[in-house]
Symmetry: C2
Subunit: 402 residues, 2 copies
């Protein structure tokens, strides 16, 4: 434990050092193929080499440090080095740096470890997330190279300047036969662990998501002259549905439902809203639960609209849940238990590189408690004790994986 506390302190110091590599003065912004990402990668390369790893950069810009014989089967430990705008310093970087710390701690495993620092997870520059892990698993779409950022710079140009090889991205693809699995440590980005007073969480799945846009259409009217009984108010219909949505999510274990946008037409204080347009973000680790909930909420919107003599329009699209490896996840739970930490299992509501890499290798994920559940924000914060616990659990897990 003393060892892991020392390593944890090193990890946190390195997170601070990486936070200095930014495109923006005074705040952390480190997007795909930026000079800031390149500089951060050079620092990470030195730490990988100090841990005894052989380091290379692939065509999309992922930085890969390998320890262990060339012929041995490989366990991947990954996360990303890019950030959103005005980011925190732990989202992504923490997983990479814990991977390096553990590779340094365990130099004589009977398999090879590769620590992968993905070049793009957030998608903050080109609006397409997971560029790094998509190239890594062989599902990079070459058309993305023609996308332009806000300054008009094509991805192909940016990647070339970065030192990548736009024409060789197909070569990033890893052969599943070589891979034992993929493991990722990440801050939770939510308040569940903090609320349960535990340091670590074993991720069970990465939630599937339904995104819908719902429009209630009634009749606008004068706020002073239309009696309540004669109104067809789009907002009160929407409010009834929002409460029904919250109630369903509260009553359905593991379901989260969010209305994040709501706009009114005409949106004037003394006019009854004629139209209300709102968004639904619905997530659950089990697709059937999410799909049933979506159908129920749609029927509910239709029933509310019918009872209020309104029209309702519902447009939605969905992405399915990603299952993690039951075997690796059990080994991870065992490892956490072996360190004396309580084993808390929870799905990930946010997406991660693990969701992509799970298509070519069995995957497992460990969450680390973050203060207030805050992420994508400079206030992101983790404790050295929790990072030490994550290093302990990870080293046990890597030993069990053998």
């Amino acid at each position: 434990m003393t060892d892991s506390l020392d390593y944890a302190a090193t990890v946190l110091r390195r997170c601070d050092e990486l936070a200095a590599f930014s495109e923006d003065e005074g705040r952390l912004t480190r997007r795909f193929a930026s000079p800031a990402l390149r500089a951060a990668g050079e620092a990470v390369r030195e730490w990988m080499e100090a841990a005894g790893m052989t380091v290379r950069r692939d065509a999309i810009g992922n930085l890969i440090g390998r320890s262990g014989d060339a012929n041995r089967r490989t366990l991947l430990i990954g996360s990303h080095l890019d950030t959103v705008r005005d980011a925190g310093r732990f989202d992504g970087a923490l997983g990479v740096l814990i991977g390096i710390a553990c590779a340094e701690l365990l130099r004589d495993l009977p398999y090879a470890i590769e620590v992968v620092a993905f070049a793009d997870e957030e998608g903050a520059r080109y609006g397409t997330s997971y560029l790094g892990s998509r190239a890594f698993v062989g599902c990079f779409d070459e058309e993305w190279l023609e996308r332009r950022d806000a300054d008009g710079v094509a991805m192909r140009t940016a990647l070339g300047r970065f030192g990548g090889s736009p024409d060789a991205i197909a070569g990033c693809r890893r052969d599943p036969a070589d891979l034992m699995g993929y493991y990722e440590v990440h801050i939770e980005q939510g308040p569940t662990l903090e609320s349960q007073d535990v340091a670590l969480g074993v991720v069970t799945a990465i939630a599937g998501q339904t995104r819908a846009t719902i429009t209630f259409s009634g009749v606008a009217g004068h706020a002073g002259t239309v009696a309540m009984s004669l109104r067809r108010d789009a907002l009160t219909a929407a409010a009834e549905w929002i409460i029904a949505t919250e109630t369903l999510a509260r009553e359905t274990d593991g379901l989260v439902a969010t209305v994040g946008q709501l706009t009114l037409d005409p949106g004037v204080g003394n006019v009854i809203p004629g139209r209300a347009t709102l968004t639904l973000d619905l997530r659950h680790a089990e697709d059937p639960v999410r799909i049933r909930a979506g159908e129920e909420l749609r029927r509910c919107a239709e029933a509310i609209a019918a009872s209020r003599e309104l029209a309702v329009e519902w447009r939605s699209h969905a992405t399915p849940a990603v299952g993690l490896s039951p075997k690796l996840t059990e080994q991870l739970a065992e490892a956490v238990a072996a360190t004396g930490q309580p084993v808390v299992r929870l799905p990930s509501g946010a997406g991660h590189d693990a969701a992509i890499v799970s298509t070519i290798a069995p995957a497992a994920m460990l969450f680390v408690r973050c203060a207030g559940g805050v992420s994508h924000n400079p206030a992101e914060s983790v404790t050295v004790q929790d990072v030490a616990a994550a290093i302990d659990a990870t080293t046990r897990f890597l030993e069990l994986a053998a």
Copy 2:
């Protein structure tokens, strides 16, 4: 009745003619002190003169036609000639033209009639409504003359060009001792009469109004990673309050409550709203009912915020209800009954010149059914039968007032 149908047809034809006097090509916009208002006034002047009236324009631009001896006490019949942007042709004009028709029908009343076409009720040009009737009752604020319209034209300049006398507005004030009362016919601007299948409504009062801005402040968060039980969602709190508001208004006779604006911060689909800001428009003909309801809704917002661990801020201001004359209103109800129409009494949720003139003379108001309750819209529509009924009721009322 044949007479009144003929007069009603004339009134509607004149409404059509007035609609041609507009500042905007292809739609009706006739704001205070505009050339369009001046031209409309000249047409009205001719119709007043044809009805045997002596016509003058006062310093603020109100057009006043008088029939009857100079020394007799005077009953005022008024409404306004200005409009909102893209207006209908009946809001205001109908009351003026019915007044002229009735003055023409009843040339030998034992008192004088003055038909007043107010120059500004809507406030569409300078953002201060009732300029015409405020000058008429002596509560015009001279500072308003320095206000500028969207083109930077000061009210003083515009009024001078219009032919008014900015420095003589105090002289518009009428001596209450000369006045028997004030009477106004107006389209209902709401659907109550249509829903009850009646042509006319006797207005009981002009509703008082509370306008409030309510802000619920919770905690923004990731839509995927914050469990329902850990959320402090500002929108779901607002939705609960919106439903409570609708319920209270439905259960309180004559109360109308409207949330017309709602904005979310940050207002992004995958982020739990941290702040919701909404408006309340609350109206009732009896101030104590409105005040009690406002207090109850404020307590309700505070209780919802407390139970959800949110903060709530409430800012409001109010204008009291305007009572109409019980005596004139009873005479108007008698007049309506005498024409064979059912007597429906209802408060006015919207403001009218009658609210201002009631400060110097007992006032009564008659509503005319309008299709769909629509107003402030080119789709405003009334039937010739309903206008004839209004003329019938008005002539009876004028006879009773003697």
